[in-house]
Symmetry: D2
C-alpha cells in the first residue's frame, strides 16, 4: 500500500478519508491537525467509525517525511506554501486542496487573498488539477493545485466552447448556487443553521476569490482575456453546486455546435456526463459522487447559450478530484476509489 498523509481536519479532510477508505492501493497513515491533536478521527467524524482509527497528530510537516509518498494539504490559504516546498524537497508528492497554487499571477493572489505569495516561482510548477484539461501534466507533476469548487463547475462546461470559438468571450455570466459545506466546518454566523435554512442569498457579489480563478482558465482556453462575472449564492443544503452559465454564440456559429463540441470533448471522460437534450442537471444526482453533469440549452431565436453544471462540492469540487489527481500522479487507474453513484434521494 502506498502511504498518504493529510494535513487538516475539516470537511475536505474527512471526505478524503471517506473516499480513501475504499482505495485498495493507498492508505492514509497520518492526519495532522491544529485543534484536535490526540483526538481520534472517528470521534471527530463518527461516520468513519470502523474505517479510520488514527489519532490526529500535531501539525508539523516533519512528521510526514519518511512516512508518506503523497500528502494532501487541506488548509486555509497562505499556509500551504512552505509545507509544500518542504514536502517536494523530500520527493513527496503533494495535492494542495487550498488556494495557494491556483492563480498563476502572484499579483492576483495578492489582490484577492491579501497576502504576498511566499514562493511565486512555484506557481508555474504546480499544475492546475483539472484532469479533463491537464491530465498529462498532472501525471508528470509533483505538485497539483486542486481547483476550487466553483471553478470546477464553471470551467468544465465553458472551456471547450471558448477553446473552439463557439461562444463569445465577453458578456459571460456565471450564477452559482452552493451548499453550505463549501464554507467549511469552522463555526461562524453565516453557517448557523437558522441563518441558512429556509432562505437563499447571494454573497461575495463581484468580489469572490473564485472569480479570478475561473477567469484565468477561461482566458487561457480562449487565448484572450475573457469578460465574465461570477456570483455565488448560498442554498440550504449540505452539498452540491449548481452553476448556470450564460453566454452568446459566436458569430456564424450554429446552435447545434454547442452540444457537439461538449459531447466530443467529454465522450471519453469518466466523470463528466453531458446530459441528453431537454434534461437539466440536479445536484442530487451527483450527491456524494465524483461526477459533474452538464445540461445544455440553446435558444434558436436569440443566440443565447445556457449551460448548467452540477457537482458535489466536497467530491468533484474538492476531495474526489484530489484523489483523481493523486491516482494520476501515482500512475494508478484514475478511477480508483471513485466509481460509485450519487446517493439519491
Amino acid at each position: 500500500m502506498i502511504k498518504a498523509g493529510i494535513i487538516g481536519d475539516g470537511y475536505t479532510a474527512a471526505e478524503l478519508l471517506r473516499i480513501l477508505a475504499g482505495h485498495d492501493e493507498v492508505e492514509v497513515v497520518s492526519v495532522l491537525s491544529t485543534e484536535n491533536v490526540g483526538r481520534r478521527i472517528d470521534s471527530l467524524f463518527p461516520h468513519l467509525t470502523g474505517f479510520c482509527s488514527l489519532e490526529c497528530e500535531e501539525s508539523d510537516v516533519e512528521r510526514l517525511i519518511g512516512r508518506c509518498e503523497v500528502v494532501f494539504l487541506a488548509l486555509p490559504h497562505g499556509l500551504s506554501v512552505n509545507i509544500a516546498l518542504r514536502l517536494l524537497e523530500n520527493d513527496i508528492k503533494c495535492v494542495d486542496l487550498g488556494a495557494d497554487f491556483r492563480l498563476k499571477d502572484p499579483s492576483l493572489y495578492r489582490e484577492y487573498y491579501e497576502l504576498e505569495h511566499g514562493a511565486p516561482e512555484m506557481l508555474n510548477k504546480a499544475v492546475y488539477g483539472l484532469p479533463e484539461l491537464y491530465r498529462d501534466q498532472i501525471k508528470r507533476s509533483a505538485i497539483v493545485a486542486n481547483p476550487g469548487c466553483f471553478p470546477t463547475g464553471a470551467i468544465l462546461p465553458l472551456v471547450p466552447l471558448l477553446a473552439q470559438g463557439i461562444i463569445k468571450t465577453d458578456g459571460i455570466v456565471i450564477d452559482s448556487k452552493t451548499g453550505v459545506s463549501g464554507a467549511g466546518r469552522t463555526v461562524k454566523p453565516a453557517s448557523h443553521f437558522c441563518e441558512v435554512n429556509e432562505g437563499i442569498r447571494a454573497y461575495g457579489v463581484g468580489t469572490h476569490r473564485h472569480g479570478p480563478e475561473i477567469r484565468q482558465e477561461l482566458s487561457l482556453a480562449a487565448g484572450i482575456k475573457v469578460d465574465m462575472i461570477f456570483t455565488p449564492h448560498l442554498v440550504p443544503m449540505n452539498r452540491g453546486i449548481l452553476s448556470t452559465c450564460y453566454a452568446q454564440l459566436a458569430d456564424g456559429i450554429n446552435a447545434g455546435s454547442v452540444r457537439k463540441v461538449l459531447e466530443d470533448s467529454y465522450r471519453d471522460e469518466c466523470f463528466v456526463r453531458v446530459l441528453p437534450d431537454g434534461t437539466m442537471p440536479h445536484t442530487k444526482w451527483v450527491y456524494g459522487s465524483n461526477f459533474l453533469d452538464i445540461g445544455i440549452y440553446t435558444d434558436t431565436g436569440s443566440s443565447r447559450v445556457i449551460l448548467v453544471s452540477a457537482l458535489d462540492n466536497l467530491t468533484k469540487g474538492a476531495s474526489g478530484q484530489a484523489v483523481q489527481n493523486m491516482n494520476l500522479m501515482l500512475g494508478l487507474n484514475e478511477r480508483k476509489a471513485l466509481m460509485y453513484a450519487g446517493v439519491h434521494p
Copy 2:
C-alpha cells in the same frame, strides 16, 4: 365590513385567508372549491383554526353574486376569464391571482399558455397589479391582474433603471431561485420532498411562462423591446424568491446613478426596501411578509450592474400583493393588514 369571496383553495387562497384575518374592514364570507366542497377551511388548513370556520362551497360564481363586493380568483390559468366577466357584470371587483389577464398580447398568451384567450378585449381593461408602477390605474380599475411571483421580483428592480435609461436594454440576465410553494399545493413528482430536499436544479429553462410577462413590463418601461433571458431554479425551501439580475450600464452613465434612481423611485414606497450599500437581501428577511428588498452591486471597472431582489412568493409575490391591490381598489389604506415584519429565523 366589506364582504370578500375567494375562488380556489390552494396555497394562495390559504394565504389570502391568513392575511385577511387581520383586516379590520374586509371579511371573507365565502370560499369556493372544486375538490373540497363541504370541508371546513380549518380542517384543510389547520393553521387557520380559530380564524376561519367557513365551509368550502361549490365552485359556482353565482354563489358570490349579491354576497361579495370583491372576489379573489386563485385558479389555474384558463379558468378565470368567464368568471371575471360574470363578476364585473355584477359590479363585483375582481383580483385575479392567475395568469389570464397579465399578458396584453393575446398571441403571446396563446403561445405560452397554449390556449386561445376567451376575452381578448378585456386584456387592456385589466390593470397589471403592481401598485408601485400602476397605483392610480389600480385605484380606478374593476379588475386587476395580480403579477406573477417571479415577475414581481424581476420588474421592480429593473423598471426604474430602464425607464430612465440607466441600463442597456439588451443582454439582461435574470436568474431566479424560488421556494417550492410557488408550484402550488397539487401533488406532483417535482414537489415530492425527496426530489427537492438537499438539491437545486434549473427548470423551464428558456421556456417559463413568466418570461414573456417580465419582458412585457420591462419593454413598456424601456419604450423598446428588451432583450432578456430568464431562468428559474427550485430551491429546497417553502417560501421565497431571490432574483439575481445582471445588466450593463448604459453608455455615459455613472455607476452611482443606479442607487440614486432606485432610492428615489422607492423612497415613498412602503413595501419596497432598497438596502444600504454592501448589503444583499436574504429571502429570510421577508419571510411571510409583503416586503420586497433590493440590493445593488455596481462594478466600477466593467460596467456591470447586479441587482438582487428578495420577496416571499406567497405574499408580495401573490396574496399579499393581491390584498394591497384590493385595498387600493376599495379606497382603503393600501397597507391595511400588511404591516408586519417577516418571520426570522
Copy 3:
C-alpha cells in the same frame, strides 16, 4: 404608549421586537446588548427594517430606570437575578425569559445550572408564567419567570390530567423534538448547518435542564412527586417543538375522560387548541404564532395515553408567551399583538 425595554439581542429579543411592533399600547424604547452596542437593530435583524430603528445600548440596567415600565430579560442563566432586583426596586415590572426564576427549589437550580442562586428569597415571589395555569398570580405579580420552551409544551397537556387524577403519576415519558432556534443565535458546532441538516439526534439525554422544570410543575399539579423522563431531540428546522407524552390511565378511569378533561380545561383559552379526534398536531400549523395545539390518542385495549403537543419555541415557547404575560401584568387585553395565524406552508 407604555414604554418597554429589552435586555439581550438574540433570537428571543428579535422575536419580542417583531411581536411588539404590532402592539398598539406598548412601545420598545431601548434594547441593551453586550456585543452589539451602537449597532442598529435593523442591521442586526434586517427583517425588522421599517419596524425598529433603535441602536443597541450598553448593557447597564441603570439605562432603563426612569425610561421603562416593563423590561424583558432575554439573557443566559445566572445574569438575571441582580438586574431583576434592581428593576423591582424601581417599580419596573419584569418578565424574565431566562431560567433564573423558574425552579422554586434553589438546590435544584444549583444542581442543574451549577450556580448558587443569587436571591433564593425571590424564587417564590416570581410567578411561573404559564397564563393558562397561573393567570391571576401573573396579573398581580411584578416579576414573572417565563417558562422554558420544552416545559410549555409538556406541562400544558399533562397538568390537567394529573391534577384531576386521570393519569398515573409514574412511568411518564416525554419525548420532545425541537427546531434549532431554541439553541439561540450564538455560533457553536452543534448549530452549524451541516451538522444539523439532513439528520436527527437526541441530546442532553437524562440531563437536560428543562427536566426538573417540567417535573416541578407536574408534581405541583399531581400533589406528589411525579416519575417522569424527558428527552429532547434536535430536528432540522428553524422553529417548532413537538412533544410526544406517554402516560397510563389511572386505575378505574375511562379513556374518554382524557379528552373531556382537556377540552374542559382549555375551552376558554385562546391560545391552546385541543384538536379533534383523529387529528395530531403539526408544528407547521403554529409556525410564528402563539398557539399550542394538543392531539390526543388513547388506546382502548391497554391503558396507554399519548398526548402530542406542538408550539413555536420562539413565540408560545418564549417571546409570545412573554408578551402574553406582559399584557396580563399591565392589565391589558391578554391577546394584544398575539392574534395572528401561523405561517403555512
Copy 4:
C-alpha cells in the same frame, strides 16, 4: 457473475441498483416495472447514469425465470405472495422487501394489512431477515422477509436485553423519527415538500403496521408477549431513522449490564456499532451506509434505560439489509458491496 432481478422501480429498487453496482459477484439483469415499462433506469434515476442502462420490463414474473438466481421483491404489500411462490418453484431465491412474509400470525396480517394472506403456510418458511438474529436460518433459506425500517431500528437494541432478562417486558415505549423516503416515491399530499419541510408531526399513532412486527420479535426474544407502544414521526429529511427506546431495568439488574450485554452481542457484528458511553447516535453518521448505531443511557437513580438507535431507512432499513441477506443466501461474504462509510456532512 450471479444474475439478479428486481421487481419494482421505487426508491428501494433504486437503492438496490446503487448498492449492487459495486458488487463484484452479482449483477442485476432485469428490473420489472408497472408504470415505467420501456424507460431506461438511468432516465428514471439519473444518479445511476453510467451504472445501469437497463430498460424497465413488464411486470411479469415469468420474465425472470431462467434468467435470475435471486430476485428482490420491492412491491407494495399483498403483491409478493404469488410471485414468491412462482420464483421458489423455479429454485430462484427470493428477498421480499415488502411486508407479506414478516408477520408469522396470519390474523395479525389480516388485522393490520386488511387482507387475507394468500399463502399462510409460507409464513414459517420465510425467515425474518435480520442477519444479526437469524444468520444461520437466512443462509439456509430460499426466501427471506426483509424487515421493516422501523423494526430494524427498534429490534436490534432491545432484543438482546429482553432475551437476557435485563429489562422489563412491560412499559416499553419506542418513539421513532423517520425521513421522508420511507414513505416511498409515490406522490401524495403527505410527501409534498411544503407539507413536510420546516415541521415535524406524529403519524399512525397507535396503529402503524410496524407495531405488530416489532412486538412479534421482541416477544419472541422475551419468551412472553411484550407490552410496547410505538409512535413514528415524520422529520424533514430524506433519509434516516432515529428510534428512542424507553424501558425499565428488570428487578435486581445492575445498570451496567445494559452496555455489557449489548457490547457482547454485537462485538463481532460488522454493521452494528455500539457507541461509547456518553455518545448518542446521529442519523447523519450512517447516511447512505448499512450501519446501525446504538447509544445507551441508564439512569442510576431510577431504573430507566434509554436506547437510541440510528440507521438509514433505505440501506440497513431496506436495500442494504436485503443485499446483506442475499450475500448470506448465496454463500457470499456478507459484507460484499456494503463496506463504505456514511456520507457526512
